[in-house]
Symmetry: C2
Subunit: 181 residues, 2 copies
């Protein structure tokens, strides 16, 4: 790959799609085409999953009365909120791209998505791990579940992990798409 000559030709890709024929397309599987990337139905499904799980983590943790007394739980609320905003924004972009049948293959857009996904996935994974550590400390090590909302803490942590599971493919696919162009 010649990094000093990053040439992108989105016109050619759209030309293939608009003429409705794939007879001249190479028969090999192209990594640029796989589901889960921005502007594909799979990508939109991933963004929707990230958003739903992050909202669930945010609401469940926010509904407990004593989460502000633990820094890690406050951090989980903040990271889930950021993940909600990011995933919702990119879901809207995906819906727009699907409606107007445009493919998001611009180099700068993919770099922006990759960096954003990398940052938000790292933040929500860190928050989920910190919350998991404290939940295990309260529940297993100290056996203090009778005076704490262990079930809600555990559910919120699990939702944050699920959101991270949904962000990771987006990050890896964007990074792969960036490297393979």
């Amino acid at each position: 790959m010649n990094v000093s000559h990053p040439e992108v030709h989105p016109q050619e890709s759209s030309a293939i799609h608009t003429d409705g024929g794939v007879a001249n397309a190479p028969p090999t599987l192209r990594m640029n085409e796989i589901q889960g990337m921005p502007g594909t139905p799979g990508g939109l499904a991933l963004r929707f999953s990230q958003f739903v799980f992050a909202v669930a983590a945010l609401c469940i943790m926010g509904s407990t009365s004593d989460f502000p007394s633990v820094s890690a739980f406050c951090y989980l609320v903040a990271a889930s909120g950021l993940q909600c905003l990011w995933s919702l924004s990119l879901a809207i972009v995906d819906i727009y791209a699907l409606l107007v049948r445009r493919r998001l293959r611009n180099s700068k857009i993919v770099i922006f998505f990759t960096i954003g996904d990398g940052i938000t996935s790292t933040l929500i994974f860190a928050a989920a791990c910190a919350s998991a550590g404290i939940t295990v400390l309260i529940g297993n090590d100290l056996n203090n579940c009778d005076v704490n909302h262990c079930a809600q803490f555990e559910t919120a942590t699990a939702m944050a992990f699920m959101s991270w599971f949904a962000v990771s493919p987006s990050f890896l696919l964007n990074f792969w798409s960036l490297a393979s162009r």
Copy 2:
């Protein structure tokens, strides 16, 4: 990139290097050549950093008397131990590759390194975040540092984060190298 035809030609690369001439080599920067990848001095330096920081985290956390009472601290010890073994093994492979002047560009080797780096970096980052959550809980939220080894917990956590900082470039470079071939 044609995924269905993953062709690798290590013979060509070694031929260029053994004849001592680079007159016919393309003048563009190749991502396959950059420092930090397996078989380069930069890669060896990364492995050495990972190993040193993981050993430091393991020893500092292991030297406290009360770490077995907290699950997250036990997990940090286990993850640091795994990171030590992985980084030491790959440092030995890097030293061998540098001594015999072979470049580790085989597709299967890079896939193995990428998966291994991905798993170990995720584990040690999770352990560091869980320990950080508990350290902040003890030190800031509960103000219980007078009866706990806060300084040692914090130092071990910081060492684990430093080890993760050194593993991440290895993972991203291997993944990039895998995608760009």
